[in-house]
Structures are given as C-alpha cells and as structure tokens.
Amino acid sequence: MDINTIASGLHPLEREVLPYLKGKTDIGAICRESGMLEVSAVRALGWMEEKGIVKLIITPEEIIDLDINGKECISKGMPEKRFLSILKTPLSLQEIEKASGLSAPDVASCLGILKQKQAIKIEKKDKLIVEITDAGKALLNGKWPEEDFLKKLPAPLGSLDKKLVGDLRSRAKIIKIETKKHKSAELTDLGKQLKNIKIEDTIDKVTPELIKSGDFKGKTFRSYDINAPSPPLYPGKLHHYRSFLDNVRKTFQSLGFEEMSGPLVESDFWDMDALYMPQFHSAREIHEAYYVKKPAAANVEKKFLDSVSQMHEKGGNGSEGWKYKFDFNRTLRTVLRTQGTACSARKLASKDLKIPGKYFGIARCFRYDVIDATHLPDFNQMEGIVVEENLNFRHLIGLLKMFAKVFAKTSEIKVVPGYFPFTEPSAELFAKHPKLGWVELGGAGLFRPEVVHPLTGRNISVIAWGLGVDRLGMFDMGIKDIRDLFTHDLEVLRNAKVV
C-alpha cells in the first residue's frame, strides 16, 4: 500500500504511539513517556503490525514482584528496622514481640540478621535480654536500601541489585519471581519511512459541531481499511419459500385468475365424491388418507348430496354412473384434504361462480405417507379451473403452454396422456428445464360431465389443472430435499436467498 494512503488511514491511537517508537522500544516505556493506557497502546501497535509498520517482539522475562510480606515491609518498614526502633531499653523477646507487633518467627529471623550485623547484643539471664549496640543505632538511623529496592517493584530481574535479590529471596515471602511476556515494538523499514514523512492532521469522526463549524473544509478524513471484516447482521425477513408462493399468487392474479380456497378438514364428499371418485376407489383406503377423529363428521348441503349420489349410483346426462350403493355416512366422514381439487369442486358448486371464470388455489394437502426427501405428510398443491362455454382440449394445451412459459421459463413442453378419476381427457405436462431436462410440471384435463353437472346443474366445459408447486419452488431455489421447505434450522432460514 502507498505510504501516503497508510498515513491518511492512521487511527488517532496509532498517531499517538508513532512518535515514541525508537528502535526497539519497550511498551512500558512508551506508556510512561506518552501517558497512554497500556490497552490503547497495545491495540494501536496490533493494528500497526497488521499494516506492516511495526514488528512486535514478545520475549519471556523474569519479573521480581512483591510477595505478601513485601507489601508490609513498605508500609511499616523492614521487620528488623521495627525491631531496632523499639529497643530504647533492653527488652526480653516477649516484650519485643508485644511492642513491635512482629510475630515470633519474624522476631527469631530478625535476631539472626541483626546479630550478624552486630546491631544487637544478647544477654542470657533468667531469659534472653536484647540490647541495641552503637552499630545498631547507626543502622537504625541510616539508609535502608531494602526498602528503596522494594518500592521499585515490580521490575525485571536484570535491572536489580543481585545481592539484595538474593538476600530478600532467602527471607519468607517478601519478594517473588514471575515469568511474564515482555512486549516491545520495533519500526519496520516502512514504519521508519512513515515516521519521516509529515503526517497531516485528519478528522476521525463527523460530529454535529464539525458540521456546524465547517472545520472539515480543506481537511482530510482518516481513511478506513474497507476490507476489514464487519460483524454479520441477520435482518428480519420473509421466509424464502413463502415469498416464492407470494410471487406465484401475484403471477396468477396478473394472469386474470381469482383465488379460491377450502378448509383443511374436508368431508369425503368434497374431497372425493363430488369429484366422481367412487367410494370403493383405492385412493380412499384408510391408509391412503388422514381421516379425522375429532370432528368425526361434516355437514354437506342436501342438494349436492342428492345430485352427486345420484350420479354415482345411476349416472345420467350421458353417463352410466358407477352403479353401486352410495354410502351417505361415509360421504360425511372427515378427512384432511388430500387434493387441491377439493377447492375446485367447492368453487364449481358455489353461488358466486363466474362464467367465464379463471380460478387458482394454493392448498395445503395431506397424504398418509412415509417421510423422506420427496414425501411429506404435509405439502402444497396448486390447482385451478377455467370455466367457460366451448372450451376444448386445445385450449387446455394452450393454457399448459403458458404455465410452462411463466413458471418454468420454457416453451418446450410435452403433453402426454394421463389419468385422473375426475377428468377426461386427461393429460400430463412435462417441460424442458434448462438444467434438469424433462421434468413433470403437473396434470390437467377437462372435468368429466359427471363432475360438472351435479355441481353446476348444467353442461359447461371446465378445464382443471394442477401444478406441483413445491417442486416448482424446489427447482427455483435449487433445493433437493422437500423437508428443507419447512426447515426449522435457523441457520438455513437466515442464510436463504430471498430472490
């Protein structure tokens, strides 16, 4: 990086440290000289090292510091000094202990030290009597280098008087040796250059005063390292798959489709009977759908019960019917909606059905299935109908072509014969996905007359279609496991793309 760029980007703390860096400089020394707090100096030097301005040198160092008794030596004086100072008259050891406040072991060790220095005389009568000598008096009134020594601590071992260190270390808990990391800093070549150029004053923060005063004019702001990492931020946001569904919903509205819906708990009637699925159909076995315990039965308008059961039992309107005894209890059984087509049946039967009308529904459906990467008991189906006089199968193909273009961004489609119990003719739609090749998008057909007539009371063409919306969403978001659509892993939710 250019030296001037580095200069203009220096943080105020870095600017503060820089003048005190001379050769290899001890951090303690920098603080003493500059008056900076050690944490500030260390932070600044850390940044400077990253920029290549200084080299930090860390060496282990033996430090002498005060131990427990050492602190008392400073505040009350050395024990032997205290010993001597009370010897106005000869005293017994007990008297010394009492008068000086020293402990018995301290008194004992003082006896040894002072005797060696010939500062006291000891006479043995019925007990030991201690008396101060002339040398003792001189000692008491003289200098006490031990005390000066202790006041300098903590200090590196190398900088201290070796003899005193030895003497004091031999005594109980006055000083101790600790190994510490010694930090010093040395300017690199780049740092030396930096120190030699004139560093202009820069402004660090924009403040209300600065704006008002206009003092920033003609000055530069400290520049930042724009590549420095910033902490991650997780904003509040809408769920990625629900956003996809929101878009699908908007797309249908823009294509002139009106939304339709239905309840989660359906009756067998709207879920299947109204769609001309016979009551003995295999999709209606107990282990194919989630039947509901509470509530156990639903209500269905008699008018529709009559027209639909009639069609199952006897046919009519050109149909032979399924020809079996319709079970009126069974039709009221409650079941979790198995197919979005239930919403289409309800719409066809509703009073506000518009003709011509285009309808769509995004319906949560349920299937009694083992859970794996492609099966959930709980999934979305996107279904709809187009109700209009004189629609035919070619209109249906036209509609599917449009869906492929809008939802799979392709105009290459394949429509092959399909089978649904409620449509005839029926078709399946495949679209050529740019990456995945031919994929099944959904199914469609013209509702059977046996579905339309009992619900609407007339013969009118109804295109019914369904698109695998969960699959579309998975293609769109590049998800392979359907369980990820409903994930409860916050990390996935936070990091999911919203586009």
Partner: protein, 545 residues
C-alpha cells in the same frame, strides 16, 4: 400403481415384430404406461391409469401395440368354442360370495414363461383391481383331472380338505388361522358363518375361494395343456371382466376357450357393448374437425368397432362409462402432440381474498421489526402444543390414525412451531427473533374452524415484556389502530407479565414473558418475550370500521 415385468423377446413375439425403443415409449405413453426399467431383456412397465386392468398382462400390452400400429385388424374379437362346461351354484353362497364364472382353455401348452405371466396377471387382477381378493379372486387349475359339472356352495368351517402345498387335511377354520394365505386373506371372510367351496362332480375340492386352491386339483404345472380358470366375487360385471381379460390372454397364447354355464348365463360374456356415439363431441371436446372415416380409423386403433353412430366397446373395457371416454381414445390415437394449442382469450379479473392481502401486510410489518419468518408443517402433536407450553389441551382437531405421533393433530397455535426452531438452533447467534404467520385449526361446536394466526418471539439476554409491547405498538401504529392491553393469566407466561391484546374490546391475542418452566421444557437458556395473535379475529373487527 400397478406394474408388470416380462421378457421383451416374448413381447415382440406376441406383437409380431420388434419395435424400436423410441416408438415403443410413445406407444406406451398412449397406454398411459411408462417403462420403469429395461435391462437383461426384461421390461418393467408402470401403469398410471389404475382403471385399465386389461393392460396388466403382456398379452394385453401386445394387443394394444398390435391394434395401435394396425398390425391386427380391429375389432379385437375373441370367439368362444360351442361346447360349454357347467358350474352349479347353491343358494348358500348368496350371503358369502355369490358370483362365480369360469372357462376351460385347451389346445396349447403351459411353458415356464407363460406360467410366470399367468400368475403375474392373476395376482395383479386380484390384488389391484380385486382389492386384495375382496372384490374378485382368480383360480387356475390343470383341468385334466377335474370332472364336470362343478358345484359352488357354502359349507361349515369344519369342512376339511388338503390345501395347496400341504400334505394333510385341514378344516376351513384352521386354514384361516394357520395357513399363510389363510391368515393373509382371513379378513375377507370375517363374520361369515359359512365359507365358499368349489368341488367337482366327484366331490373333490378345487378350491376354497378366495383363499387357496386344493393340493389335489389346484396345482398348475409346466407342460399342462388343459386349464380351468375360475373367478369368484360379488358383482357379475367384475367377475366377468376378470374372466374376459384372462380368456383373451390365453386365447392369444393359442388356446381355445370353452365357456361355462352358470345359472343359465354363459361366461365369459365376450359381447361388445353397443353405445350411441355423438360425433359432435369430437369437435366439442378435442377441437378437431374429423370425418367419419377418420374417426373410425382412430377408434380401430383402440379395438372399437364402429357402425354409423354406434360404437362397439371391447368387453375388456369396463372403464368406458360416457362418450367422453371414447373421445379421449380418439384424441390419444390422433396424438396429443399433433393438437395445435389455442390461447384463452376471455377477459377475467384476477384477485385474492382480502384477508390474504391483510396478512401479507402484517407479515411485512413484523419482518420490518427484525423478525425472521418461519414456515412449518401444519401437522403437529399434543406434547408440543400443550405439555411443553404448560397448557391444558383443548379444542384440538385430531387424526384417527397416523404414521408418526409427531404428526397426529392439526396445530392449534403457532408459538410451539417457533419454540421448535429455537430448540434446534441454540448454536446460532442471539438475539433470535422469529415469527410465523399461517393457518391453524380448532374444534368449535364440533366443527374444525381454520384461522389465520401469527406468533412472534424474541429471545436474548434482555428479552422483556416491554420489548414485545413495543413491537405490538409498532404493528398498531402501522395499521393505524389503537390496541388495549389487560393483565391476563396464561400458564405459558410469567404471572404478572402477561397481557391480553384487544382491539375495540375484541380480544385477539396474548403476549408476555415466557415462563422459565416453558423455556426449560424446550431446553432454552435465555429469556423470551412472545405473542400469539388471531389475525382472522382482528381482520374481522377491522373490516367493520
């Protein structure tokens, strides 16, 4: 969906020529079938239309291909021999399994491959179409030892014979209890006082329908050249359909078919069903202008006969119940890929429900307050909804039967969904702020009522009542409404730190600081402030403004 496996050599022999792969795929699409696998000379076909059992045999598939490619002249008629065999039925079967029919096939030989295919057809028809033998079941026998006429009757459970693959007599009752097939299908005869039995003129047992053949007369083997086939069930049309499909298959293997006479009916009934066909429907349904000749040719590809306005339907097609079914076959024979699409041109106005627009705005406001949206499954369980939330169970929509206890009820609130996310995401950085908006269902007057709900929660060191109240304040401000708060008691929350939320005196939510007991139940270690709102109720009140 049923699938069958056969050798491709056998198929092309039956078709009369080899069909290239791409063409085979297209023709099979027209039969609503797809090749699931093709390896080592074996093809496995999957049928998407569960209503076309005539295709569930290699002979049926080959017939479809021959007709579709005009390799066989249509209609696909099968001629019965004049001689017939008699099956007497006794009235006792009426309440057990009333219908029986059969035929004798003679004049060719059972090879290993044919035996395999016959057993496959028998299984597919009885399991898939026959609903695991309940609706129909099929028996195959070497006919050389059988003395006609046969008698079909119901007998007591103590009746004895030697079932297939056994060397000793067993009573019918013990067959249902101990024989593997008996145990498998015993349910069909549950609560019956007598059981059906088929015996020959010497009183030798052929079978115990729909359970098992006898070891003596009911064991078909390679090299047999006279076969007897019987079908039993509840409806004549179902029994006849299975007989027809089996008779066609054996006839196409070079056997002559001798019918049976049952109560003055001759079975199988191979007559083509005549229906009036309204040719206008071709134009109406397919949008195609086709002439009579063209329509006839296309119908021939599906084995129909056409005479003027009358279309004759092959006896193996029980699925045709309306003219539109015939129209679909014309469309498929014509080729869906040749149909030119027409765009929809009617003008219609797109729209959604007002409440959907409302909840979408609501979601945007909550997300703007810093909450991450969650999207969960609707099925849940009582432990999550109540036990772990310190609540009493009430008004739950419950399933009758379920695979996993985790998915045994419909969720009645959304907060537990968020708790589950929190429990699974403890390694993620805090604060964790989540919300979910979606449908819940509750039991009201014995009806399941769906409601749009929204739950939100904030979890971090300083999560508090004040924080969640601020969020509610922000929501209210952005909706342009004023909310009322009243002290409330709810065992999910700390007493004295829980409020009900109302708009114009209508309560629609609860909020507060979650009780440490609830946090502990979900293994959370930080305080949490949460709210659960009934948006349907709020929207209803808002709509009154």
């Amino acid at each position: 969906m049923p699938s069958i496996t056969f050798s491709e050599k056998d198929l092309f022999k039956l078709v009369g020529k080899t069909i290239p792969e791409a063409e085979l795929t297209t023709i099979l699409e027209s039969a609503k079938a797809e090749i699931e696998s093709r390896e080592n000379g074996k093809i496995t076909l999957k049928f998407n239309d569960t209503n076309l059992p005539y295709l569930w045999s290699i002979e049926g598939v080959a017939r479809f291909i021959r007709l579709f490619k005009n390799l066989q002249s249509s209609p696909a008629k099968l001629k019965l021999e004049e001689k017939s065999y008699e099956i007497k039925t006794e009235p006792s079967v009426a309440t057990v399994r009333p219908i029986i029919g059969g035929f004798v096939a003679e004049g060719s030989k059972i090879t290993e491959e044919l035996l395999e295919q016959l057993i496959q057809l028998q299984e597919k028809l009885a399991d898939s179409y026959g609903k695991n033998r309940e609706k129909i079941s099929i028996g195959l026998y070497p006919a050389s030892k059988i003395k006609f006429p046969l008698t079909y009757k119901a007998v007591d459970p103590s009746f004895k014979f030697t079932p297939l693959e056994f060397s000793h007599d067993m009573t019918l009752a013990s067959i249902l209890k101990e024989h593997p097939k008996g145990m498998k299908y015993a349910k069909i005869l549950e609560n019956k006082k007598q059981y059906p039995i088929l015996v020959d003129a010497t009183n030798s047992v052929l079978s115990f329908p729909p359970i098992i053949n006898s070891n003596n007369l009911g064991k078909l083997t390679i090299g047999d050249n006279v076969i007897f086939c019987d079908v039993t069930g509840h409806e004549l049309k179902d029994v006849n359909l299975a007989l027809v499909i089996c008779a066609y298959a054996l006839s196409e293997r070079g056997f002559k078919i001798y019918p049976t006479k049952v109560n003055n009916h001759v079975l199988p009934d191979l007559r083509f069903k005549k229906v009036m066909f309204d040719k206008k429907l071709v134009k109406e349904v397919l949008g195609l202008d086709l002439g009579d000749k063209e329509i006839k040719e296309l119908l021939h590809k599906f084995g129909y006969e056409v005479e003027g306005n009358v279309v004759e339907i092959p006896p193996y097609r029980q699925d045709i119940m309306h003219n539109v079914d015939i129209v679909e076959d014309i469309g498929i024979a014509y080729g869906y890929d040749k149909l030119i699409p027409i765009p929809l041109t009617s003008y219609t106005v797109g729209s959604t429900f007002p409440i959907i627009n409302f909840v979408d705005k609501f979601r945007t406001i909550v997300a703007g307050c810093g909450f991450q949206e969650v999207y969960s499954a609707i099925l849940s369980n009582k432990e999550a909804l109540y036990e772990k939330m310190n609540l009493q169970e009430s008004s739950t929509v419950e399933l009758l039967d379920f695979i996993s206890n985790n998915y045994s009820v419909i969720r009645s609130s959304l907060l537990p969904m968020l708790m589950d996310v929190l429990q699974k995401s403890k390694h993620n950085t805090y604060p964790q702020m989540l919300f979910e908006q979606g449908v819940i269902s509750v039991l009201l007057n014995n009806e399941a009522v769906d409601k749009e709900h929204c739950a939100l929660i904030s979890v971090h060191n300083n999560a508090s009542f004040t924080e969640i109240k601020s969020v509610m304040g922000a929501i209210a401000r952005n909706l342009g409404i004023e909310l009322e708060y009243n002290i409330a008691e709810n065992d999910s929350y700390i007493k004295g730190r829980c409020a009900s939320i109302s708009y114009r005196k209508k309560q629609f939510g609860v909020m507060g600081e979650l009780s440490p007991a609830v946090l502990g139940n979900w293994k959370l270690e930080l305080p949490a402030a949460a709210a659960e709102l009934d948006l349907s109720a709020l929207f209803e009140e808002l709509s009154k403004r």
